[in-house]
Symmetry: D2
Subunit: 330 residues, 4 copies
């Protein structure tokens, strides 16, 4: 999770797409499809052209978003169904990338384990069924139905002093996986999506592009193997909430008065940087790192991390299925 | 910490006083004084009349607020000085209440240990130097300079199924302390005060007064012994931030335009319940339990809990002083 | 868990019985029965006379021991079956004690949460489905199939400074349960039983009886309501292991030599207190608090705590059954 | 910590030396010296010949052992003094290896964070003052008195599926430190040394040498830069305790009887593999991974990890000294 801006930002292709097309614009080179399965909504966005990528602000690629509004209700049956859906969708990615059954997979859990909403990746990694060492130490003796899987939570720059991208590159070069899966906590525009949405993308993880930002991404270019990214929005930035408040007030006035000329003039004339100044002032002195979270966040993060780990364990190992998958997470 | 409202609320007498006197009103029966010691501001508010209590919305009593804006900078020297100030101010309370040197003290750490910003009380309790059992098991053999101190974190209603007040009453009746100290995390109006302010009050802990709210307070009336409350604001509610955003926009327009008639009319006419509706809409669907916290919250809470525990250990035991106090916390 | 002796001791009635009857003695007033269910062995010991109680060193009562040697294999299907067996056996106790469906139950998780092998009780409590507050706050609105359940982990003397028995008495007096269930970690004689055995007893929890030991038990006499104890051996004391080593050497020499006269004389003449001295010397300087544990202990404790919590949730609430029980533990 | 044997083993050069010279043998190519400072004993062992190395069973190198029997007494003043001694001794290593003031240092915290006695390395890493990223992101703007330090806890094979040595090699190649410091929990022969002894060695970390053991060491040969190892004995294996018990019984009989012929014959004739069989039998069924630990182990490990982190922070950064060092650990 990149914690770095006062402005409105989203890591979800779905939200970026919906913002970009809010006015009804049709996007060339962008395809969007939706399915619904008893409370689980699966959206596919394919960005096939550079033009579409620029318009949406996301890289070309195949994005699947699984939305489950009821996921915070602690319904274990629903959680199991989401894990199964995730496994099936993930298997689609494996097929699309022609990843063979015995290909080696490295799961990278990004994020800071000391910051609860950023700890998603490390918690998933703790529940991944790791098998690579059995193949190395006892080749030929591993039961059929498993593939070599390794898993690492590399920490963040402030903890290690080393770029996460460099650590991952070093580990990839030494352990030679055929595929990397990177798990990361995301920021969302919408409180509704917090801990209820899972995004899968074959684009890898890209660093923010701000000045001085030296961070390396985790992509096929930097690592030499395909990278599938799985992300879950776990927070909304306080700045997003304040921006929402301004929008809401704007809309409220629109509805409440006929004499909108003066006030709308004021609001519309309020330039982006003035607005940003106001947001900053509201959030002073703690600034842009402020997170808005539900108080049950520890439980929510643990639940969705278990869903992702279960889904991945089932997708990666043929011998793991809906009946035995819970044995591998804790 | 009572997590229960969409409206603007504060648990700090200082903030309540400053709101009530914002317009320059002089409060009869309320006395306020301030001292400054190298980056530590100590405010005293004495509410001596029912009239003053009503005006401010806080019970009659003696409130001390220690404000240390630099407390989040991880300056261990400053942290030690704050603990020493806290010890000294707390000793003032013991003197005022005529608590003798060997009087038995029970420290209650309120709050939910599974919710980081509400875990202040339980973390303080973990670092309190507990000695009561030595006096019970080996009377006459305890070194001079110590008093009998016990400490309990009773949990919250959602964890135990039992009113916290009832649990504490039961423990008080069986263990017979002469004084109860109750530690609690508070909500603040201001991000600036989060984890930088400590309030001491001889009023005990009072429950919210909402309909259906059956929770018992921890006061001399319910427990039969004096109760000193120590609180630290650890969060701002998201609703407070949104309300702040609305205020900020109001002020911005005041400054930006001469033609304020129409717009101020609109803003001023916006009634409290309309405003509340807007706040709710912004925070939908996760609602009023949303907390705004800095991402380093785990570290901040631990630091300030250590300060409080160190201050109390030094105030309660003559044998504990600035030189050896760090041996008793971890 | 009472950590207090150099000598060989067990908290399991089954082990005490087997030691007492090792020489083939028949115990009057003691009945023992065994059933086997696919890897789960259920032993019942009924001690009905004072004479039998004295001989075995356990109080008169009804003891059920569930032994599952494979429980450390992380087989989730087996774990579910053990939880179901525990629920069924526990329902037998409820029936025997004539506990009506809506009777209020208080679950007490004994032990020190800072000492992993002693944290069993507190971890069970975290996973108990707590409902009492719904009955108090919204009487008449709770769905059928639930009863009022509360749960508390009272800590240990060294943490609170207060006798655990006093804290529990205070809470029982204020919250008025009809039945108390006390969960505790036990010491075993046998490494084999560590984290694979669950004992249920209707005797409550009794304190050690050493001189100066003031601790109160949790029994129908001290609390005024029946107390069912559930225990799991989670450690073997290092002193037990050393004693085992001495026994093993004794047996080894018996087997190895014909000329046993001299050596057996030596071994047999070695008096209990000499032997105890040797044990102490081996364990010097850290002494009797030394615990022998497998390195995976954190995981084992969590697994068996989940089994107990699941079993109790199913036994206490009709609406909870094998299909939905996992939703209530985490 | 390598958990792999039934036989008596130690990771401490001091213990290995003392065993090898127990009979008064003088070791050529081995120099041993001792200093005492108010409760802190500093032993130096220099192994300068292959012959000495073989005799002791440790690699040629410079070993310093800091023994502080009182370290478990929670005396914060003593803890500070030990950290200062460690800093001074460590600076001696830096001088000996000609490590310049701005040389880059990587601290590796070995061990499994899920197994308390093996978590020493990861806990030290959490308290190391990490600065390398400031030098990378803002070269020229870092205050004087600091050097570039990075820190990683790479996990263990069972957690990641990847050899720890491979992960460290990858990180070293990408981040280019000039020196590696490796922290590890050790096994001791003696309960007395558990959590009271710190060993520093310029030999790096060497893998066990058992058949099939593929693990790579962390040495100047594998990493290309010098490796200083810091270790603390945090456990005694249960097998060591059982072996001690056998020895103790042997000595007991020696003292107790004149007629030692028969029995000593028995004991002395008991061959190493018979003895090993007995040890195995005692520890059956949980086997050689059984650890003997004091119950306060969590606290002990945290305390000694803080001492090591404080000592290293002071040794590595000139700007960190006894007055401000506590600000950098938590």
């Amino acid at each position: 999770m990149d914690l770095s801006a006062y402005s409105v930002r989203t890591d979800l292709a779905l939200e970026a797409h919906d913002m970009a097309t809010a006015s009804g614009t049709i996007m060339p080179g962008v395809h969007r499809a939706v399915e619904n399965h008893e409370g689980i909504r699966i959206s596919t966005i394919d960005i096939t052209s550079e033009e579409g990528a620029r318009a949406i602000g996301k890289l070309p690629g195949h994005y699947i978003t699984i939305e489950v509004p009821e996921l915070r209700q602690k319904d274990s049956d629903l959680q199991d169904r989401v894990a199964t859906v995730l496994a099936k969708e993930f298997e689609g990615y494996l097929a699309k990338l022609n990843v063979p059954p015995m290909a080696k997979v490295l799961v990278i859990g990004l994020g800071n384990w000391n910051v609860t909403p950023d700890a998603l990746g490390p918690i998933v990694v703790e529940n991944i069924m790791v098998t690579r060492h059995y193949f190395e130490l006892m080749p030929g003796q591993v039961s059929p139905g498993y593939r070599p899987v390794s898993a690492v939570a590399p920490g963040v720059l402030g903890i290690t002093g080393i770029e996460t991208g460099e650590i991952v590159q070093g580990i990839v070069e030494k352990s030679n996986p055929d595929l990397v899966i990177a798990i990361d906590a995301l920021a969302s525009l919408s409180l509704e999506r917090v801990n209820t949405t899972i995004q899968i993308a074959d684009t890898g993880i890209h660093p923010g592009s701000g000045i001085g930002n030296k961070r390396k991404g985790l992509t096929v270019d930097t690592l030499g193997v395909p990278v599938i990214a799985i992300g879950v929005p776990t927070v909304v930035f306080a700045s997003t909430i304040v921006n929402n408040a301004f929008d809401m007030m704007h809309n409220h006035f629109l509805k409440q008065t006929d004499n909108t000329g003066t006030i709308l003039g004021l609001l519309d004339n309020m330039q982006e940087n003035e607005r940003l100044e106001l947001v900053k002032e509201v959030l002073n002195p703690l600034g842009h790192d402020l997170l808005v979270t539900p108080k049950e966040i520890d439980q929510f993060i643990e639940d969705i991390a278990n869903i992702i780990a279960s889904g991945l364990n089932a997708a990666l190992h043929d011998a793991v299925n809906a009946d035995n998958v819970s044995a591998y997470t804790h």
